[in-house]
Symmetry: C2
């Protein structure tokens, strides 16, 4: 999905919600464990219920890899089930030397129908560029993350006064365009939103950390929206585990709907 | 495998060679494509042939993920095939917020019998610590990598004069011990080996970049060995693709043997 199509979907739905499929097998409702593939059964029901309220799904690969072969099978089924109307993100935090990054890019952007993959920038240019070679596909590079560990390196200051995350966003931005690059910006970093937007005025930000991690949708939207919205705000646990009972899908829909209704207030 | 056992294996074999199973399906010999699982058939033959000359195998997960479900199956079969005498590394470059890193740790260190997994440090403490909770298992954190992109961020200088990779190694070292933490140090960084060893005198270094990437085994061994050797030097393409014909396994064995013979000269 290219930028124009993504912006159209956001304006059509008046939502920039991304639903995070961090499908933890120990948290899915008990009755689903009778299904042949409980993880996919859970995801399918969540997708069916939340489709009207979101524009994107983010599959957190860790939860699938932890289930081994059957987890990888559930991941493949899930991404293939999401309709073409929705932007599909592999939240995989990959990145390696060039020939290896090329293999990761093939895995997620070619063999699987993801639109985007999240990337860790530590290893620099040749670790990121292989993800920028696919028409209509995206690399979403870690900028400033929502977790406490962001203070260890991301927020450290470099010689000359720039902080590492600022250097990363400026440098990575020069390797691609706002048509094939986004940045991960944690919802808990409210103090930095205006600065982040000034560094990358045109790029989309993927913003996790709303809900369970405590970030404010209101504050992100006020401070970091650009003229084409430029935000995909993700919520995972808060939506998909809104209920642990048989009503889990309708509870997820209600939660997603309430996010979308709040988002509609901010859409120009 | 704990540190004492690893050091014993190194001294017994007089080798600190790690064979990298970057098994690119387009590079494996043509006759293997008749096998039910060509990737595993290739790996099995390489492992059988190189076992006497190495102490570790490193599975580069990207090459398996690029093959989808059958790739993940080949990865599982391969790690289960490597005997307990050999240290097993998942070269996966993972790292995410705490609850997600915990899932990656379960995937590789608990569900699969890897001894270690490589980790990207950008997201800081809570992204690394979940990998340090398993007795006899290891996190191998990126320090200074072999690729050209290391200049983009890793080699940048922070306020106060420390370079980012130095800060990363010093900080990460404080989160664990030389019993559960190693660092990735590229073989092409000869100018930095003495400095690297002074920052982390007791830790093992996993050193990729010998062979295809141009690093010198002699220089690493002279400058970065410690009293318990403290090195796992990896070669991937140079060994496993030494021949593209039916003699690929014996060609790999010959190449691994020649590395091991050079290494024996440096073992105290």
């Amino acid at each position: 999905m290219n930028r124009k199509e993504l912006v159209e979907q956001i304006k059509l739905k008046k939502s920039y919600l991304c639903v995070g499929l961090d499908t933890d097998s120990v948290k899915i409702p008990a009755h689903l464990h009778n299904e042949e593939d409980p993880i996919f059964a859970f995801n399918k029901a969540i997708i069916d219920a939340t489709l009207p309220y979101c524009v994107a799904y983010k599959i957190n690969t860790a939860f699938y890899e932890a289930q081994g072969l059957k987890g990888w099978a559930a991941l493949e089924k899930t991404v293939n089930y999401i309709p073409a109307s929705h932007f599909k993100i592999a939240d995989a935090k990959r990145g390696d030397i060039g020939n290896t990054s090329t293999q990761y890019a093939i895995a997620f952007l070619k063999q699987l129908p993801f639109d985007a993959i999240t990337i860790a920038p530590y290893m620099g240019e040749d670790s990121v560029k292989p993800f920028l070679q696919f028409e209509g596909k995206w690399a979403i590079v870690l900028g400033l993350t929502s977790n406490s560990g962001a203070h260890d390196f991301e927020l450290k200051t470099l010689e000359g006064g720039e902080r590492l995350y600022e250097k990363v966003i400026r440098t990575v931005a020069s390797w691609g365009t706002p048509e094939n690059l986004m940045f991960v910006v944690g919802a808990t970093r409210a103090d930095e939103f205006i600065n982040l937007r000034s560094i990358a005025p045109d790029h989309f930000f993927l913003v996790p950390g709303v809900g369970a991690q405590g970030g404010s949708l209101n504050e992100i939207s006020q401070k970091a929206m650009n003229k084409e919205v430029g935000l995909l705000v993700n919520s995972s646990r808060d939506i998909i585990f809104a209920s642990s009972k048989e009503d889990f899908a309708s509870a997820a829909a209600a939660k997603a709907k309430s996010y979308a209704e709040e988002m509609a207030l901010f859409i120009p």
